[in-house]
């Protein structure tokens, strides 16, 4: 007969400290990898919304207009997807759990506006980078072609009042207006004239031409329509796009591209698509 076989174990544990922790008086020791809750470094956030797109549980909402970042704590499954997807690494997986409570907590963070305008990532063009758009008003005929061709509505032209105005915050120095000006009275700060000339020379008959074949997954550009304005590059949260207006180069780094489509909505010529 073998009875009370567990006696040794029981007696040993009788004289030992309890195996449990006195919760909540004794705090738990978190591991380095413990997935507790998501936190955000607000000042680094660019409100790109990639985290919300990558969240499998739809726990994150990003409002670009109100500049808010919202997380539903109960919905979050701590899968770490947003942290891995964030291009600015402003999301952090903290290793403590959130406080237990009877309510479903929704945390909203207001994202402060960056102090300076974000640097123009899309611009590989050295001349345009430090240049402001100027108009030689003596020669200007106020035709309005520049304003019509501006991809970001930065120009106001009034023929009657003889007004030509540029909104420097909105202008991305793409040079589309310089190219269209019949009087050549527009110029971008720095050496830009040769670029305009090169553009002219390179004019080709319009034939739909794409950056990559149709069967290749990812982002592609209808090169034949592209004006190399660089707006897509500016909108790209992962800096996957290279645009060189001088050399007429539009390039996407497919490794870096997360197909967030942020560029697609920004393109004034609708020449971008995600396959």
């Amino acid at each position: 007969m073998a009875t009370f076989r567990i006696g040794k174990v029981v007696l040993r544990s009788l004289f030992k400290k309890p195996a449990t922790l006195m919760y909540p008086v004794v705090p738990r020791e978190w591991q380095e990898r413990t997935r507790g809750h998501i936190d955000i470094r607000k000042e680094d956030c660019i409100v790109c919304g990639i985290c919300a797109k990558k969240c499998p549980a739809n726990a994150i909402t990003v409002d670009r207009n109100k500049r808010t970042w919202t997380i539903e704590r109960m919905q979050c499954i701590q899968c770490n997807c947003c942290v891995e997807a964030c291009p600015k690494t402003c999301l952090i997986m903290e290793n403590q759990y959130t406080e237990p409570g009877p309510e479903k907590v929704v945390d909203t963070f207001e994202i402060p506006k960056p102090e300076k305008a974000a640097p123009n990532k899309g611009k590989a063009d050295g001349g345009a980078a430090d240049g402001e758009l100027t108009c030689n008003l003596d020669e200007c005929i106020y035709c309005g072609l520049c304003s019509k061709n501006c991809p970001c509505d930065a120009l106001t032209v009034d023929r009657k009042e003889k007004v030509w105005k540029v909104d420097t915050d909105a202008c991305v120095s793409c040079g589309a207006c310089v190219e269209k000006c019949p009087k050549k009275c527009l110029s971008l700060g720095g050496a830009d004239a040769p670029a305009a000339e090169a553009d002219k020379k390179a004019e080709k008959p319009k034939e739909a031409e794409y950056s990559c074949p149709e069967d290749e997954a990812g982002l592609r550009c209808k090169i034949s329509d592209c004006i190399y304005c660089g707006l897509c590059g500016k909108a790209c949260p992962v800096e996957a796009l290279t645009i060189d207006r001088k050399e007429k180069v539009w390039k996407v780094d497919k490794e870096a591209c997360v197909t967030c489509e942020a560029c697609v909505s920004q393109c004034p010529k609708d020449c971008l698509e995600v396959i």
Partner: protein, 359 residues
């Protein structure tokens, strides 16, 4: 012959970790028939493949079950990888095997505790769970989660374990082995435990074959059936024999699981000694086009995963068949002729996971 009475058992019952309902037809104290019914915890997870991208779906599949969560993630990823013709790096295969064996270890320790609880041996129950806690700590250290790991992804793994930590794990398990041995000796030799387990709920080898029993239930009835021998992972590079017992009763099923606890520790030691260095994932691009099926040995038995792509971000169909699904007919057979007092133990010895079964 006494009067027949029907006793409803479950879905809420102290012994049941998850909701299953049984109508027990009794004659005096003896069960003559058991009619099972499930459907209390259906969540429609398979349907979600239509809404979640195949890369996101792994987080849903992992939540089919809390105990064999890693195995589900692995089975799903393996089936999608098969459909896409992706070969994952060897280190990832090793790490998957190690995590899966750790899962088996913690699942069996949990089960041993629950079994002790079912025959009201509470100190044994608590000591089993105390040891299981060590394994959960290993999970938290290596994956960041204690229950849901979220480390598997299509194309490999999301987290690596460095070789130093792997050695630490082996050392921890070596220490744990002694303590587990003390407790499993109680299960194997203690008279009060044996009185409750020996000769109870015998499932003959023929019945196990006829009713397609799987996992420790089948192996407890003398059936040599272990998908680790030919399933995914690196088991073919490790040296092991399936644990098989001939008795077919609760005691045999308990012994099989105890044997597998030590076998898992041994397999982890072997895997750690062999693991190569290298990458843990390969980039996966494009859509799923083909279809693929994977069979995996979960702690509870054979699980089946089927994935079919629709040449889009979403799969057309995902199918999971879990071991408990296959063991319920065996359970019904075992229940016939047993005492009412043995019903909780019998239900536990198939290690039911109703969440898995219903998904």
């Amino acid at each position: 012959m006494g009067k027949r009475t029907i006793i409803p058992f479950g879905p809420q019952h102290p012994v049941l970790p998850e909701p299953v309902h049984l109508d027990l037809v009794l004659e005096d104290e003896v069960v003559v028939e058991a009619i099972p019914s499930i459907g209390f915890i259906h969540r429609g997870l398979e349907k979600l493949v239509e809404k979640k991208e195949y890369t996101e779906m792994v987080y849903v599949i992992e939540r089919i079950c809390g105990i064999c969560s890693f195995g589900h993630g692995w089975g799903y990823c393996a089936s999608v990888e098969g459909a896409m013709d992706v070969e994952i790096p060897e280190r990832a295969e090793y790490l998957r095997t190690i995590w899966h064996e750790l899962s088996r270890l913690h699942s069996h320790m949990l089960w041993l505790g629950l079994l002790a609880d079912a025959f009201a041996f509470d100190s044994l129950f608590m000591h089993c769970w105390k040891l299981r806690e060590t394994i959960l700590d290993i999970f938290e250290k290596t994956t960041g989660g204690r229950v849901i790991f979220s480390v598997c992804k299509v194309g490999g793994l999301r987290k690596d374990i460095d070789n130093e930590t792997l050695k630490e794990i082996v050392d921890t398990l070596k220490g744990l082995k002694k303590e587990i041995k003390e407790l499993t000796d109680v299960f194997i030799t203690d008279t009060s435990v044996k009185n409750r387990l020996c000769g109870v709920g015998v499932l003959s080898k023929q019945d196990a074959i006829d009713l397609s029993a799987t996992g420790p239930v089948a192996r407890g009835s003398g059936l040599v059936q272990d998908l680790r021998l030919n399933g995914p992972g690196v088991y073919h590079k490790l040296n092991f024999e399936p644990v098989v017992e001939e008795g077919g009763d609760c005691y045999a099923r308990c012994k099989v699981r105890i044997g597998e606890v030590f076998q898992s520790i041994d397999l982890i030691e072997q895997a750690v000694s062999q693991i190569p260095d290298g990458p843990i994932d390969v980039p996966v691009k494009g859509n799923v086009k083909g279809e693929f099926a994977v069979r995996l040995e979960q702690p509870r038995g054979e699980a089946f995963y089927y994935a079919k792509g629709a040449d889009s971000k979403f799969l057309e169909r995902m199918r999971v068949r879990t071991p408990t699904n296959m063991n319920i007919p065996a359970l019904v057979k075992m229940l016939q002729g047993c005492d009412l007092a043995d019903v909780p133990i019998l239900i536990l010895t198939i290690d039911p996971c109703i969440s898995c079964t219903e998904r």
